[in-house]
Amino acid sequence: MRRLFTDTLVIAERNLVRLPRAPELLVAFTVQPIMFVLLFRYVFGGAIKTPGFSYADFLIPGIIVQNIAFGGFVTALGLNEDLHKGLIDRFRSLPMARAAVLAGRTLADVVTNGLSASILVITGLIIGFSFHTSVLEALAGGGLLLLFGYAFSWVFAFLGMLVSSAEAANSVGFIAVFPLTFISSAFVPVKSMPSVLRAFAEVNPFTITVDAMRSLWLGAPAGNDVWGAAVWALAIIVVFAPLAVARYRRAAGQ
């Protein structure tokens, strides 16, 4: 167990150290989300009615949840690359804890997700977003956000090992997750959607998580959203972590 812990840290460190040397990844973590915030705030924002909130307040929790779900993309691309370049073979020939390869990857995502989310919050504060709740609630929101991002790291870990190439991982991830994030309350109030989409959006874990964030950061009425979001995140982990581990065993054992 101690071995698993230290090996996980070694692998996580490996994935973080290499980050500044891959400029395209850094851009994905920083410039891209900022660009989206500015586009939504200033291009669409004026046309979207968000009763009870300014659009800046409404937008930031939504776009942060969307952004953090995609944080796991690095895991999908990275694992795919590791498999094809023989690094996984090297790891498996070492006397290390085998689970550490996946655990270290997803742990590194938590750090980059935290970084990425912080940049978005700061950008938000500059364009008019503000917290309307206590520090404790705001921090709880941050925690929920990281948990949600962690859950999606496992989804992407699974996807990354399922497909044959990094390009395929990219498009599958995009096609599978991107619409989910849009058919939700992330960018527009669900009430404005046609009834079929609306029915879907109301049960979409993205809606539930975004609404939970709005209640923790803006004081919006929460209902069961905070617990609902936590349960969704844990459920995703419970389903996708074993799937990813099984897939890892299969992919690596060939």
């Binding site: 070694v10 490996r14 150290v17 891959a22 690094l87 073979d89 070492l94 006397p95 054992g253």
Partner: protein, 327 residues
Amino acid sequence: MPRASGDDAAAVSVRGLVKSYGDVKALVGVDLDVSHGTVLGLLGPNGAGKTTIIRILTTLLRPDAGSARVAGLDVVADAAKLRERIGLAGQYAAVDENLTGLENLTMVGRLYGESRARAKRRGHELLERFELLDAAKRPTKTYSGGMRRRLDLAAALVAKPPVLFLDEPTTGLDPRSRLQLWETIEGLVADGTTVLLTTQYLDEADRLASEIAVIDHGRVIAGGTPDELKDRVGGERLEIRLDEAARAQAAADALASMSDEPPGVDGDLVTVGVRRRGGAIVEAVRLLDDAGVGVEDIALRRPTLDDVFLSLTGHAAEAAEDEQAAA
């Protein structure tokens, strides 16, 4: 119960190894032995089963049947313990491109359970030995192919393993890097390391291996020292290129007394297996002169491992490789 490596006569011992991927039979019963401090070369075309053998012996893959012991440990039952005693350098240089040479080796050392400081010190030592110290702080994506291969080999040596597995260590390298890597491997063997290497290159097996096992279609089809294998194909042969192809049959008739087998004729080239090396060229020239056949070139040639491969498998190593690539 695992036995200590000293008790075992062989560093690697494989009996009746079988492995299939679905319907594809990768190994159909492989037996191998590698003595301590020697090099066994697994020679064969792509898809022959060489890599599967390496993957089973390095615990990456479980065999369907048969047994294998490495450094006195069973590859299935003692897999976790065995990983501390082996080094693996793969077909593609398995290093992280975005880490520096030193970071790569330090990471591997820590994954062997060493402290950061000790892993780093060992990394330095290896970089120095492999003449990579100048590039220690550069991301490995800036390394040349030969440098990456050396780093990959260094990573396999972090824990000073008594048994080293090299899966096509020089595939894709330029001749100079190849030679460097060969010298490094020879140095390791001189220090007592046991090496099992796979290769498609006959000259590589010839140079490095003390014993060779020729693998084709998942089984060992021949084994022995390089010289034994060459002898099996036949002794030395004379290759005589004639002035005129039209005189080839006359030349073959004239030379028939030199060999137990009839000479081979291919255009203006006549080939004769000879019983004795000494005096063979002089005798051939005299016989041909008596028969009035003009000679352009004459040479005594030892069989190469190419000849061995061709005569054992009925196809050349390179051709079989293309077949596999197309499949």
